[in-house]
Assembly symmetry: C2
Homo-oligomer: 164 residues x 2
């Protein structure tokens, strides 16, 4: 049994994401775990994350769906290969597309639960279905398609911006 | 000729959004304008808004698509009724769904241009097609479906959270 989150296993150069990077000291630090066949993440929005007063703004909810989705895709990739997330080679995923349905306004000041389920694995592409629950009500449904990218491509992107 | 943004016309109780509210002193303050048949918004991400180093994280890009989309939906609603955004009754829009395609990594440290075009108006539902350009490259495409909500419903939501 480990208490590490999926995001704890991201290599350093993938760990600066404002949504989920452990090395971004101003970010959200989203942390995701397996809970049986589903993945789960708990997150408490800050008072400033307002849509209309008393409710969470859509951009943060989209960010939770995005980062929890790519985290779940990565964990699913390792699981499909029957190995742990600290084994080599590391698998890196980036978001190809994100879809979010806002079913009901999401209350602010409430611990949110984000859940994910692997919907499809086709080659390097993984689709994660997700939903967000607040006060026992599902307020958001979403879907992320994440693509596994070779580390060489990530290094090329970093070099292009002078951040390698 | 006015230099007011769409969001400057939001009534006070709709102006606290972290993405686009003029009254949220910690938010992004997204500002959108007409440019002919398209709407446009310029936004400079902060250095902390990292995906991988040197690139913008997906949650912020989703937030830009979301808030620029609802702003454009509101402006389109007034335009369809042939009246200005400071006329009564005020029209309020909330996001029903959000779709974002990440075509290429979006560079950080570059002024982003978000553009929108009204794709469909059906009753109270408005669909806005959008795209984000950085360094003359379109890196993101998105779509927002926004729904016009009666002010009575907004007041009821505020009252339910004690924020009326």
């Amino acid at each position: 049994m480990t208490h590490n989150a999926f995001q704890d296993y991201y290599p350093d150069h993938m760990a600066h994401c404002y949504g989920c990077g452990r090395l971004n000291d101003q970010g959200h630090h989203i942390r995701s775990y397996w809970d049986g066949e589903e993945s789960v993440c708990h997150f408490m929005p800050e008072p400033k994350h307002i849509s209309i007063p008393g409710y969470v703004y859509g951009g943060l909810l989209a960010s939770l769906i995005d980062c929890h989705g790519t985290g779940t895709a990565a964990a699913a990739g390792y699981r499909a290969e029957g190995r742990t997330m600290d084994s080599e080679p590391a698998l890196r995923y980036l978001t190809a597309s994100l879809h979010v349905e806002y079913l009901h306004p999401t209350p602010l000041g409430v611990l949110l639960e984000v859940r994910g389920r692997v919907k499809e694995v086709r080659g390097r592409r993984v689709v994660i279905a997700e939903w967000i629950t607040a006060n026992a009500e599902t307020t958001v449904r979403g879907e992320v398609a994440a693509v596994q990218v070779p580390d060489g491509l990530v290094q090329e992107l970093l070099a292009r911006r002078g951040t390698a």
